[in-house]
Symmetry: C2
Subunit: 434 residues, 2 copies
C-alpha cells in the first residue's frame, strides 16, 4: 500500500472531524488519469479472454478475484469497506455534515460471457479514483460519499434490485452463467441471502446516485462528443409473438391458397421497423428472435414464434408504437389468413434522471471545456434501480464504434480521464446544495 495514500486518508479524516471544507480548491481539482487507466488495465487481468476482453460472469472464481482486487483499491482510497447482505461492495467516506444523506456513486465489474474491459469497469474504477483523489487532496465533502460496486449487473441488475425493490424467491432461484443460482452466488461473494432485508434501502435514503458508463451506442464516437449527459434510462417491453397459419405441402398448395405464417411474420418484421422509424424521436423497436415450424424446405410454415422489443424514455411512446404495430398486423392477418398473438413477458419502466443532477453534470463538463450531448441510455443500468431511492444521474463516455458486450469494446484513456473528472466535479457540485 502507498504510504502517501494512507497519509492523505488520515488527513481527510482529520479535516472531516474539524468540519473543514476545502471547497475553494474545487475548480482546479483533477483526478489522476494515469492511475484510473492503470487500475482498469489491472482489473482486466481477472477473467481475461485469449482474444481480449474478459469473461467475468457474476459469482465465478474470476469475479471473486476481481472483487478482492477492487476491495483493496477501495481500502487504499481510504474507504471503509463492507459487503452488504446482497453481496454488493460498499465503501464509505464520512461527510462533514452529520445530517446529510450520502451521495452514492457506483457501477459493476461483472461481465457478460465474452465481454469487454469497459462496460461497468470504467464506472467502478472512476468511482474509486474520485474517492482516492478526494482523499489524497484532502477534500472534505459535506455529504457522506458511498462507492458501491453492484454485484451481477449483467444478470439483470441483481445487486441494485436487491437493495431497492428486493429479490423474489424466483429471482434467487435463477441459475446464472456461473452455474450457481443467485442465492448460492450471493453466499459465495460474502452476502447472506437469508438476511436480504437488512440490505434494503428506502426512498429518500440517498442524496443522489451517480454513475459513469461507456455509451454502448456509437453516437458520441460518431459525433466526436466527449461527454453524454443522460436524460434517463429507457423503459423496455418484451413480447413473445406467435403467428399461426396453416402448414401445408409446398409443392401442391397454389400460392393464392396459402396461409403462410412466415409470409405474415415477414410483413410483421418489416412493419415493426417501419412504424418505429415513422415517428420522430429516438425510440427503438427490434425483432430479435424468429423460428418457423415445422421448419422444412418443402412445408409452408404453419406457425412462427418471434418476438418484439420496444424501448423509449417515454412509456406512452412504447405503447403508441405497440398500437401502430397492432394496426399493421391486423391488416397482415387479414391478408394472409393468419392470426397474431402478443404476450408481454417483461416490462421495465423508464427511469428519468433528475433535472438538477443533469444540470450539475452538464455544468461540470462545460467548466472542464468538454463537448457534451444530452441523450437517453438505451441500455439498462443499476442507476435505473437506484432511481427508486432518490435523484439519479449518469455520465457517458464514447465507446469506439459503439461496440459493447464484446472483446472488441474500447474506450480511449483520455475519455476515461475526462469522464472521471466530470464525475468528480458533479459530486462536488451536488455536495454544494446550500
Amino acid at each position: 500500500m502507498d504510504r502517501r495514500v494512507r497519509l492523505a486518508a488520515c488527513l481527510q479524516v482529520v479535516l472531516t472531524a474539524l468540519s473543514v471544507t476545502v471547497a475553494g480548491h474545487g475548480p482546479d481539482l483533477r483526478i489522476n488519469g494515469k492511475r484510473v487507466n492503470g487500475h482498469l488495465l489491472e482489473l482486466s487481468r481477472f477473467g481475461k479472454n485469449p482474444e481480449g476482453g474478459v469473461t467475468r460472469v457474476a459469482y465465478s472464481d474470476v469475479d471473486l478475484q476481481g472483487r478482492a482486487y477492487v476491495i483493496q483499491l477501495m481500502r487504499d482510497a481510504g474507504l471503509d469497506v463492507v459487503i452488504d447482505a446482497a453481496g454488493n461492495i460498499v465503501g464509505r467516506r464520512a461527510g462533514a455534515d452529520p445530517g446529510k444523506k450520502p451521495i452514492v456513486v457506483g457501477s459493476h465489474i461483472d461481465s457478460v460471457p465474452q465481454g469487454g474491459n469497459y462496460d461497468g469497469n470504467v464506472g467502478s474504477m472512476a468511482a474509486i479514483e474520485v474517492a482516492q483523489s478526494l482523499a489524497e487532496q484532502g477534500v472534505a465533502l459535506r455529504h457522506p460519499l458511498e462507492v458501491v460496486i453492484f454485484q451481477n449487473e449483467e444478470g439483470g441488475t441483481v445487486g441494485s434490485m436487491a437493495i431497492t425493490a428486493g429479490l423474489s424467491n424466483d429471482d434467487l432461484a435463477r441459475t446464472t452463467h456461473s452455474g450457481a443460482t443467485v442465492r448460492e452466488g450471493i453466499r459465495r461473494i460474502g452476502g447472506d441471502p437469508d438476511r436480504l432485508a437488512q440490505a434494503i434501502r428506502k426512498p429518500g435514503d440517498i442524496a443522489a446516485y451517480l454513475e459513469l458508463h461507456i455509451e454502448q451506442g456509437g453516437i458520441l464516437d460518431a459525433e466526436d462528443v466527449d461527454i453524454g449527459v443522460v436524460e434517463g434510462i429507457v423503459g423496455i417491453k418484451w413480447w413473445d409473438v406467435t403467428i399461426e397459419g396453416s402448414a401445408n405441402h409446398a409443392g401442391t398448395t397454389p400460392m393464392a391458397q396459402r396461409r403462410d405464417a412466415l409470409l405474415a411474420a415477414a410483413r410483421y418484421v418489416d412493419a415493426v421497423n417501419r412504424v418505429a422509424r415513422a415517428r420522430p424521436g429516438r425510440q427503438v423497436a427490434t425483432v430479435g428472435r424468429i423460428q418457423a415450424f415445422p421448419g422444412a424446405y418443402n412445408v409452408i410454415p404453419g406457425k412462427v414464434a418471434t418476438s418484439l422489443e420496444i424501448r423509449d424514455l417515454d412509456a406512452s411512446v412504447i405503447d403508441a408504437i405497440r398500437q401502430d404495430v397492432q394496426r399493421e398486423v391486423e391488416l397482415t392477418a387479414q391478408d394472409t389468413g393468419t392470426t397474431f398473438t402478443f404476450t408481454l413477458t417483461s416490462d421495465t419502466v423508464p427511469a428519468p434522471t433528475d433535472t438538477r443532477v443533469r444540470r450539475t453534470i452538464d455544468e461540470a463538463a462545460a467548466r472542464l471545456g468538454l463537448r457534451r450531448k444530452s441523450m437517453p441510455s438505451g441500455a439498462g443500468h443499476d442507476a435505473q434501480e437506484m432511481a427508486r431511492l432518490g435523484p439519479i444521474g449518469m455520465i457517458f463516455v464514447p465507446s469506439v464504434g459503439g461496440i459493447s458486450h464484446s472483446p472488441r469494446e474500447f474506450t480511449r484513456p483520455e475519455d476515461i480521464t475526462n469522464g472521471t473528472n466530470v464525475l468528480l466535479h458533479a459530486i462536488l457540485g451536488l455536495d454544494d446544495d446550500r
Copy 2:
C-alpha cells in the same frame, strides 16, 4: 383365399397361353370398387395412429406387415411376385405378345410419420385391383403387366431410384425414420444391398409406367373435377440462404445505424412470395425455414439462416424466378447493409409425362363420363424416376381439402373407384398400340 379368384387367375393363364385376347370386352370392363376400397381399409390397419391415418415408415415392423399383406393380395390377383434386389415388390403377369415390353403400374405403401391412408396406398391397391379384375374377367393383354410396390417413396423415392439412376453409398448410409439406414432397411425387407446392380433397369426396358395417386393439392376437390391428367412432375430446387448483417445491442443502436439481418430476411421472404405470384403460371416458391442468430429479444440479429424452394414443370421458369429473387435481394442487401448467400442443396429436374400416355388417360376418363383437368404434379413421385426408363403418365383423384401427409387425408371411395377404372382403361388403351 377366394376360390373364384383362383379360378379366374387360372382362366387368365389359360387364355394367355392360347393368345386369346378379349379386347372386345374392353369398353364395358369395370374394376370392383367395393373390393379396392375394402383392401384400402384393411391396409390402413398396419401402423394405424390413435387419431387416424398411419405411421408406416419404410423398413419399420408395420411396413413389413403391410408388405406381407400386399404380397398376398398380389398373389390372389394371379401375379408372380418377387422382391427385387432393391426391395421393391414386383408382381408380373405375362403378355400375349412375347416381343412386348411390360406396362408397369405402381405406387408405394410406406408413409411419412403421422401420415394418412391414401398417399401411395390408393395407387398401390388400384394397381393390384386392375390385375385382379383383368384376371377374373379373363382379359389377356398383349404386353406383360407389372405391378410394382416401390419401397421407401417418402424417404426420397428410394426404391424407384434404385432401379433407374441407382443408389450411391451416401444414399445407402442415410438413416431413415425407422432408425435403420437404407442399406439395413433394404436387407430387412428382403432385398440385397450388395447386389443392387441386378435390379437396375435400362431406358427402353418398359412400354410405359402408370401411377394413380391422390392429388395432394386441393384443386380437383375445389373445382369438383373427378380426374387429374398429370402433365408432368415439377422440378424442384432447394437453396440454403444465409443473410449476414451485424449483431448489435437493441437498446443502444439507433434504427438508422442498424445492419439487421432479420429485417433483410423479412424483405426477402416477402419478395419470394411477390415474384412467384407476379408471373402467370402454376409455379410455387416457398421459404419454409428461418432462424435468427444470436436469437435474443435484445440483440439485433447479425445472421439469419433461411431457405428457398422453387417448383415448376419448366426448369427455365425455376431459374427465372431465382433470378427475380436475386434482383430483389440485391436491392435489399444494399438498403440494409447485409449480404445474401444462396447455396443450391437439391436439384430435381422436371419429369414431363408422355403425350400419348396423357391422351390415352384423358380418353379413358372421357369414355367413363368423368370430368377431367390437365395439371402438374407439385409433389414428387416414383413416376419421376421411372421417366428415365420410358413414357410415363399419372392419374390424380381428388383429396378432400387438398390435405396430405396428415391423418386427416381423405379421398372418397367413389373417386378411388373412378380412378381405378381410369387406370384400367388407360392400360387397355396403351396395350392397344398397333
